[in-house]
Symmetry: C2
């Protein structure tokens, strides 16, 4: 029977190799130790010797964390392969084939290794963009009295339109953001509007979001696009303390 | 003297509370246990009871990981505050004031807790966009024979231009990407070119990247923008296996 967790204090390199090679599909493995990390792929990087926390997940993803920030110092996505070589230092290679990239982790010492039987669990998000679109489809008057929704996720060569509809003046392209809309949202909308215009359609475009940044609003006006204020509905049972 | 690491097997709730409240600035703390997570802030979410790995960093950032993918299930950025309440379950509140958001972690059992003296370490990235700009500034003929670089990080109301220069036909705006350029890169460049055009300038724009996606190239041509192929120089001492 698989245990819920195991812990190895100052493990031998051979133990680490054995566990990384044989238990990687069964457990989330965390190494805490001194490490130097070389990365070569889309760019290249060196992280000098330092104590870091390295996590290997069963799906092949690997994260190297320092003591700050949410973003790992280095990482490899799922479906990466792990090979371990023994020597003066432990050498761990995390490789991805396409695109070809490799993370080389050199460890003179592993302080501890832990194996955890982590589950995936269920996750439900409320107040998503998709829920906002849903609400507008059900209540198109939230946008305007003459708005008729036609198609969600309308595919263009330049991305998917969140919601395409018509009003008395022609097509209306809507781009939804669940948080403050920025310049990227306006540019994204502009692409879709341009695409339909190039096809000879009469088209307007609007951002649907709880708020919009100053610079984005300025750009929106320059492009003669519109802004519809709408907040995602948060689940009422979760309240802020 | 602070130890390099400590490990607590099936810790009491009071021990977890004590450590989270008093040692959080000194160590990276990892809890492995059964947890349910409620989040309310820019959206709201529920992650049902499941075994997950929760990491608290000294800067206040918190990550909750399942057994898959690089991205945490839930997280809070640095400068979050942690409060712990004892009860039938352990209740951990991770709060951020602005914007107001809270992560509520309910744990009926903590399998283990580890404290690790993780360091920040040094990190060097080679083949960055900044290095690509540097190279073009030193060798402007990589773009064209008549290109004269004027200013890096040129500020516009719609973002910073990576490199602004002139050629015999007027201004040339360059947007650099170290990996394949996509639709967003083209839209970004278009914003800058539009901005200078609105000011009455004669202006061309170009993407500088090792490659460009098909759809991005199509949009680029529609907008009458240009593409200059350039790869970041990777550090020669790091070689792919």
């Amino acid at each position: 029977m698989m245990e819920k967790y195991k812990f190895f204090d100052l493990p031998e390199f051979s133990t680490v190799k054995d566990i990384l090679e044989n238990e990687r599909k069964n457990y989330v493995i965390t190494l805490f130790g001194l490490c130097k990390i070389l990365y070569a792929g889309r760019a290249s990087s060196i992280a000098t010797y330092s104590s870091r926390l390295i996590t290997f997940k069963p799906d092949g993803s690997v994260l190297v964390h320092s003591n700050k920030k949410l973003k790992p110092v280095n990482w490899q996505p799922s479906s990466s392969e792990v090979k371990v070589e023994l020597g003066d230092e432990l050498k761990i290679y995390v490789e991805r084939k396409r695109p070809k990239e490799v993370l080389e982790i050199l460890m003179p010492i592993v302080y501890y290794l832990s194996l955890s039987k982590v589950d995936e669990g269920e996750f439900h998000l409320f107040g998503s963009e998709s829920e906002m679109v849903e609400e507008v489809v059900k209540n198109p008057e939230l946008i305007s009295r003459d708005f008729i929704p036609l198609e969600r996720e309308y595919q263009t060569p330049f991305g998917k339109i969140d919601l395409l509809g018509v009003t008395s003046t022609g097509y209306l392209v809507l781009e939804f953001k669940r948080a403050q809309a920025g310049l990227e949202a306006v540019s994204q909308l502009k692409r879709y509007v341009d695409y339909l215009s190039w096809k000879g359609e009469k088209v307007r475009g609007g951002i649907v979001a709880p708020s919009i940044s100053k610079s984005a609003l300025k750009l929106l006006k320059k492009y003669e696009l519109e802004y519809f204020q709408l907040s995602p509905r948060l689940l009422s049972t979760i309240r802020l303390k």
